[in-house]
Symmetry: none
Subunit: 157 residues, 2 copies
Amino acid sequence: MSARHVATKARSRVAPTVKELQGLLRGAGLRSTAPRLAVLEYFHSHGGTNSHAEIFDALHDRGFDRATIYRILVDLAEAGILSRTDLGDHVWRFELRRGARGAQHTEEHPHFVCVDCGGVSCLPGLSLKVEGQAKAPRSVTKNKVSIQLKGLCDDCS
Amino acid sequence: MSARHVATKARSRVAPTVKELQGLLRGAGLRSTAPRLAVLEYFHSHGGTNSHAEIFDALHDRGFDRATIYRILVDLAEAGILSRTDLGDHVWRFELRRGARGAQHTEEHPHFVCVDCGGVSCLPGLSLKVEGQAKAPRSVTKNKVSIQLKGLCDDCS
DNA sequence: ACGAGAAACGCACCCGAGTTGCATCTCGGG
DNA sequence: CCCGAGATGCAACTCGGGTGCGTTTCTCGT
């Protein structure tokens, strides 16, 4: 489903260097440590939205601690490098908001959750349309809402 | 959609009788049991959104079991009598659905959830727009998805 | 009214995601 | 190089959600 989409995205982009990732961290007032670099590298190579568990799964065989990964994610989110999203299933998910080289400079966008397999995908090319005289809260008309779609993905339908 | 609004709502409505609550349950294909009636009574008297913990706090001195309360909430939500919402803090909150008729309320239009007060409103005048060459699952392009917007309502912003 | 079957309950327990405490390590500035 | 404070790893905890199972109870049919 989304794996194909994400993979395509990753291939079309040159990976940032360690120096660039270091600059990103220091620019945010954070120390450039190995676990942090590994997390950032993961986000630049995988793209999309990722849960703590997914990231830990990928990085734990390098000796990185689960609680440390968690703290790193929270710190990076607080620093504005990642965004933290809750899609309604009690799992925090993280995405690059301000990556190295600006290549993954990601604005808010709708997310799609498959009600069958639970897969999550980003849909940056969708927006809301208010029809005619329809009423909506100001946050909606000002586009200050998060948008979540639920349905069946192409694989599950 | 603040406390004022909820309080006004509660005053303008006469509390339903046990018979009416029984009818509500049976109409949804559920048995009319004492714990379920107590939960429904709680919702009709308190209004607003309520977490499992709050409801259990209020009802446990009547001998009702925590797990039972949880199951009841989930059953009532599945039956369409309650709506279940996560406001972003990883706590499920439940609220009487409008009309409390469940079966007649569909997902054919977007819903807005206020992340502060938890109020849920229908936004039938909104739709999705796919921009340009953007890719999206077929269920999205065919409008077979439920759409949820999260943000601050006009009262809470 | 009675009986039966299945839904629902209460008791006890478990789980996963998130989070914390603390000793030790390490980054980076002086 | 030194040092201080931030960051890490280890171990454990918390909290909300959820499950298994024996027993109870609702309700439908006779």
